[in-house]
């Protein structure tokens, strides 16, 4: 029976990851290890197998995506030289300017950028503009010079002008274009970069692996910049590239503006790849396979009103652990539209928590006790008001209804829940 559950989970997880564009090979390896861990943890015997599975999956994903965030390798003697490489349209020029701005802001570095994309029309003009916006010195020689020579010249300039960092923007190239890949290798040879960064579009599909493998072979790149993360792509390419090449993902580019650039957070990416909608599917699958007896017990508990506010609080904490609520909601299929423009206030959760913690254990188990003076005491204790306490109890009743549905193996109506929470 455990094996059946394992296979079922594995298949569901594989679907989830493929839908997120994680490469096929990577999916196989990953789901194998999750299955092993899930079975080892004896998930089935737990009170809440769905959340257990989700935790195992997201822990594994986070670990595979890179553990703790990493930084650039800075040169002991400046300038630190960074080469940006990638396919056409992945966002190299924009990422070059963003990184320049980021280093100026974060490290107070003097930064220069070099325009070595001489092939795409107006790429040099683009870098001149965005480089200036980023507060970087732009080294360029127009479009007639050889990119390798421009890079070497820019390096000399950076040394003589005492720049802390030189970022070299290169032209987009296909990983199968031998001539251009050789040119990239020549640029690296000329400037001996401390970091070569591969720029990868978050929307990339299965091909991400072929691209990363080729660029790794030619440039032995040191890290990855994921771009266009402000879209709704699940970004499985991040996992593929990391798993296949072992190179860390350093930065995430999250918008059109130059300051929308940040250190990469593996935990957030893991949640994004999983997707809230799919997390619910996983929960449901695990719940499906849930021991009937235990389900019946939970149901009995719910029916007998033994599901108290302590359990409610625990549920809320579980949900919050999954990530910022606003972005989670956006990822729920079918819910995105409905909730567009609805602002979810994270502080609301802190308030709810404060209210619950101001109750006695007895009150938490039996919220129906909370009337009149008890309500006033709780409101005072939590620094809220009576209306807020009332609203919470109402919300709890709704949550209890949802829990009952889950216990019966049905999907909770999340939309209704959120509308109730507003």
């Amino acid at each position: 029976m455990f094996d059946t559950l394992g296979d079922k989970l594995q298949a569901t997880l594989a679907d989830v990851l493929l839908e997120a564009d994680v490469n096929f090979k990577v999916v196989k390896g990953f789901t194998d290890s999750v299955k092993e861990r899930a079975l080892g943890a004896d998930v089935v015997g737990q009170l809440n197998p769905g959340q257990q599975v989700v935790k195992i999956v997201s822990d594994e994903l986070t670990e595979l995506l890179g553990g703790a965030a990493r930084d650039l390798a800075f040169a002991s003697r400046p300038p630190t030289v960074v080469v940006m490489a990638g396919l056409q349209g992945s966002g190299k020029t924009t990422a070059t300017a963003k990184l320049a701005r980021y280093l100026r802001e974060q490290r107070n570095s003097s930064v220069a950028v070099a325009a070595c994309d001489v092939r795409r029309p107006a790429a040099v003009e683009q870098l001149i503009k965005v480089g200036a916006q980023a507060g970087a010195t732009v080294y360029e020689q127009g479009t007639d010079a050889d990119p390798v020579k421009i890079a070497a010249w820019a390096h000399d300039q950076a040394v003589s002008e005492g720049k802390d960092v030189l970022i070299i923007d290169t032209g987009g190239r296909l990983h199968v274009d031998q001539e251009l890949m050789a040119e990239l290798a020549a640029i690296n040879k000329a400037v001996k970069p401390h970091d070569v960064l591969l720029v990868v579009d978050a929307m990339t599909g299965q091909d991400a692996v072929a691209v990363a493998e080729q660029f790794a072979e030619v440039t032995n790149f040191d890290g990855v910049v994921m771009t266009k993360l402000d879209g709704d792509a699940r970004g499985g390419a991040a996992l593929s590239v990391k798993a296949i090449t072992g190179k860390p993902i350093l930065f995430a580019s999250t918008g059109e503006k130059l300051d929308q650039f940040e250190r990469f957070h593996p935990d957030r990416m893991a949640q994004r790849i999983l997707g809230m909608g799919d997390v619910m599917t996983l929960v449901e699958k695990a719940q499906d396979a849930y021991d009937d007896e235990r389900a019946a017990e939970l149901e009995r508990k719910l029916r007998k009103q033994e599901f108290g506010l302590d359990d409610f609080l625990e549920q809320m904490r579980q949900v919050r652990r999954l990530g910022p609520l606003q972005s989670l909601l956006g990822m729920i299929p079918g819910l995105g539209n409905e909730l567009r423009g609805v602002k979810i206030d994270e502080a609301d959760f802190d308030r709810l928590q404060a209210i619950i913690l101001s109750m006695t254990p007895e009150e938490r188990r039996h919220p129906e006790l909370i009337k009149g003076s008890r309500r006033i005491r709780i409101a005072r204790g939590s620094g809220t008001n009576v209306q807020a306490v009332k609203a919470l109890i109402k919300q709890f009743e709704q949550m209890r209804k949802v829990m009952r549905q889950v216990a019966q193996g049905r999907m909770p109506d999340l939309g209704a829940l959120m509308r109730g929470a507003r």
Partner: protein, 329 residues
């Protein structure tokens, strides 16, 4: 087997205006790369699919076929449909032998790819073509190539409107392409209202009796509501000027795009009713299978494919050829 340009376009009076005929030698040079690609495709098919995949049918056969399609970014739903159908026919005994199965597979894939009207009607004067898409998918490059082909193959006069006023140096980039293609170019300054640029371009096209007006737009993510609203506005401005326009709204989709391509196509279509796709960057190793999913689920046909950085590297889409290439190892 590839479609000719004249087959892609719907023209006045049936036969296309013959372009100045070019020396055979150049023609051979131009299509050399494509022919080589096709030959590679066929060889790969012969060695990969025909000899091994359908050798003896088992559960593994279908799994491997699923893998191949997933690898090509076709997506779960469309893959399942194709594999189920083929498996059903094979089990029913209507198909026997590797060759018959391969042919049927290619046929099934091509049928899905062939959806709606996959031609471009350029009979209106001027025909207005709006080009939209996510950042970095190749809008500007596509417009340059399309203008060049309209001039070279069909002897049409083209005006290009630079309504991408957002991207730094976006106007300059398009201007270079317009010059290469021999098209007239209409622009305002950076940061100008895109709708106003579209308006100007169409006015210029009407005034000068141009055959085709192509409007470039800024790259935008389909999730950016304000930018999608701006695109809708450009569309409205065009429709006000010429009621049936834009006669063609092309969405560029990068062949390396994964399952998010479906979302892109859906949301762009909701905003400006996309009439066709341009599948770009097919010269890499990506197969562009997402186009099949888009055709299957949204009924939007691919009309053009981009296969390189040169002016001639834009081709009319050919479903059977695409289907073959999807299965290439």
């Amino acid at each position: 087997m590839a479609r000719e340009w004249s087959e892609l376009f719907i023209l006045d009076g049936g036969a296309p205006a013959p372009a100045a005929s070019e020396p055979e030698e150049r023609r051979v040079g131009r299509f050399r790369r494509l022919r080589e690609n096709l030959r590679k495709t066929r060889q790969a098919l012969t060695s990969e699919i025909r000899s091994t995949l359908f050798e003896d049918l088992s559960e593994e056969t279908w799994e491997r076929l699923e893998e191949a399609l997933i690898y090509a970014d076709v997506g779960a739903a469309t893959t399942a449909k194709v594999v189920e159908q083929l498996e059903r026919e094979a089990t029913a005994g209507t198909l026997t032998g590797g060759e018959a199965l391969t042919d049927r597979l290619v046929q099934l894939l091509a049928e899905i790819a062939r959806t709606g009207d996959d031609r471009i009607d350029i009979r209106p004067h001027p025909t207005v073509i709006l080009v939209a898409g996510v950042n970095g998918t190749g809008k500007t490059t596509t417009i340059g190539k399309l203008a060049w082909h309209l001039r070279q193959e069909l002897d049409r006069s083209v005006v290009i409107g630079a309504a991408d006023t957002f991207r730094a140096a976006g106007i300059e980039q398009l201007q270079v392409w317009a010059e290469r293609a021999g098209a007239d170019f209409v622009a305002r300054s950076a940061g100008a209202d895109p709708g106003a640029v579209a308006y100007d371009a169409i006015e210029a096209g009407r005034r000068d009796g141009a055959d085709v007006v192509i409007i470039d737009t800024a790259g935008r993510l389909h999730t950016q509501h304000d930018l999608m609203a701006e695109l809708e506005k450009v569309h409205r401005v065009i429709s006000k000027q010429i009621p049936d326009a834009p006669h063609e709204t092309l969405l560029t989709v990068d062949a390396t795009t994964g399952q998010n391509g479906l979302r892109q196509a859906r949301l762009f279509s909701e905003a400006v009713s996309v009439s066709g796709l341009v599948l770009t960057k097919l010269d890499g190793t990506a197969k562009g299978g997402i186009a099949l999913a888009i055709a299957h689920e949204l009924g939007i046909p691919v009309k053009l494919i981009g296969v390189g950085e040169q002016l001639e590297d834009l081709r009319p889409f050919e479903p059977a050829e695409f289907a073959h290439a999807l299965l290439e190892a």
